[in-house]
Symmetry: C2
Subunit: 209 residues, 2 copies
DNA sequence: TATTTTTCATGACAATTTGTCAATATCGTA
DNA sequence: TACGATATTGACAAATTGTCATGAAAAATA
């Protein structure tokens, strides 16, 4: 967490024991943030749910804001991992979109409430985080990468800015997924609608519709 | 606030005095939430900044969550108003998009930080608000309306679901606007990029590119 | 205007939450 | 087993959140 540049091995992977507690805290936090929301979740509650003394909470996280950031970060990491694992070698941007959307929806189904809670713009909690530490950006990076490649291949329109549109895709998915859920759309339908939308918007000569 | 169905005029628009304090509180809250964020803003701070006793805070809002919701709601209302005023009679969806995007960007410039803070998915603060009270939806309603009309006119692709895509547009704008700002894009450029994107995605036979 | 009634604001106080830290326990190693 | 390093604990102190009796201001009544 802090600078790991001390001694030799430094704390070298946080003495296991410590890491274990941290994991417990994060896991409890995840449950509570999703269930009760930020406001109604007290550091105490997290400690209790994690079965550690509440003093321990503060040796791992400075305050609630910090554990929330960690929570959001972790969720995003998980999603990223999940999606990456499910995308085979693809030949085109179009293919990629379908795989990615499917994976994201699957993840959302397996982790109800998680994306909704974790993919917020963390600026609200910590305005000083004006940098790019914005949580979503890490995941958006995946999109940005494929967008760049596809632009090089000349698959996409010239006015597509990979950087910008990577974020756009995140925002789109985030706002759309819960809504589709509320509207009772199936995963297939959701993926179709969004994929077509994105492909028309970005791909010069779509192969599938 | 409560049931206004008593006597005749009931309290009918909160006795002026009270409304005034409430306004002061909201205005102070807006400043602080943007400046310091949710976490670092205490109800006390809001009361102090609004120049009222801190007990007064609680007679207007139950807690911080509630005033945050009110803040978000108000900001959204303002944006909606602002945009509506700036959209003349339009002939096509395309035209609408350009006006709307321009207006939104102008609003964002005039109110730095506001959209970023206020357009969050309030589910994080209050998970029980699973309904459509989601803050963004009020504003999205504007998009949904024009989308419906345009679909009736057969301007849009058949697979465009106005309900879903209204929200999609919000998410897109929200995630994209701050990013464009960070990337140093001008308002004109931003509007162009996003407009083209949206038009290609939705309009069957675009007139302008 | 004087009197009564209602509504609101206030800040002292109580309750809860947050954060600190000296004492203690646990782990790895000699 | 003893030692040193590190992590955990919970009692305590600090800060915050929330309540409510009191009185001031506005509105209603006369």
């Amino acid at each position: 967490m802090t600078d790991a540049l001390e001694g030799k091995l430094a704390t070298d992977r946080a003495s296991k024991r410590k890491a274990e507690k941290r994991g417990r805290l994060l896991s409890a936090a995840r449950k509570l943030f999703i269930q009760r929301g930020y406001h109604e979740t007290r550091p105490q509650d997290i400690a209790r749910a994690a079965d550690v003394a509440h003093g321990t909470f503060y040796s791992h996280f400075h305050d609630k804001r910090e554990i929330f950031m960690a929570f959001a970060s972790e969720a995003q990491e998980d999603l990223h991992q999940f999606v990456v694992e499910r995308i085979p070698k693809v030949e085109s941007f179009e293919e990629y979109i379908y795989y990615a959307l499917n994976a994201i929806q699957e993840f959302a189904e397996q982790n109800p409430g998680l994306l909704r809670s974790a993919l917020v713009d963390t600026k609200v909690f910590d305005p000083s985080d004006s940098t790019g530490k914005v949580v979503r950006s890490k995941f958006a990076a995946g999109f940005i990468k494929i967008l760049k490649m596809s632009r090089t291949n000349d698959e996409l329109y010239d006015d597509i800015d990979p950087e910008l549109m990577g974020h756009a895709m995140m925002g789109l998915i985030q706002s759309t997924a819960p809504q589709a859920y509320r509207m009772g759309k199936s995963r297939e339908e959701f993926v179709q609608l969004l994929a077509r939308f994105l492909i028309r918007a970005m791909v010069k000569s779509p192969k599938n519709l």
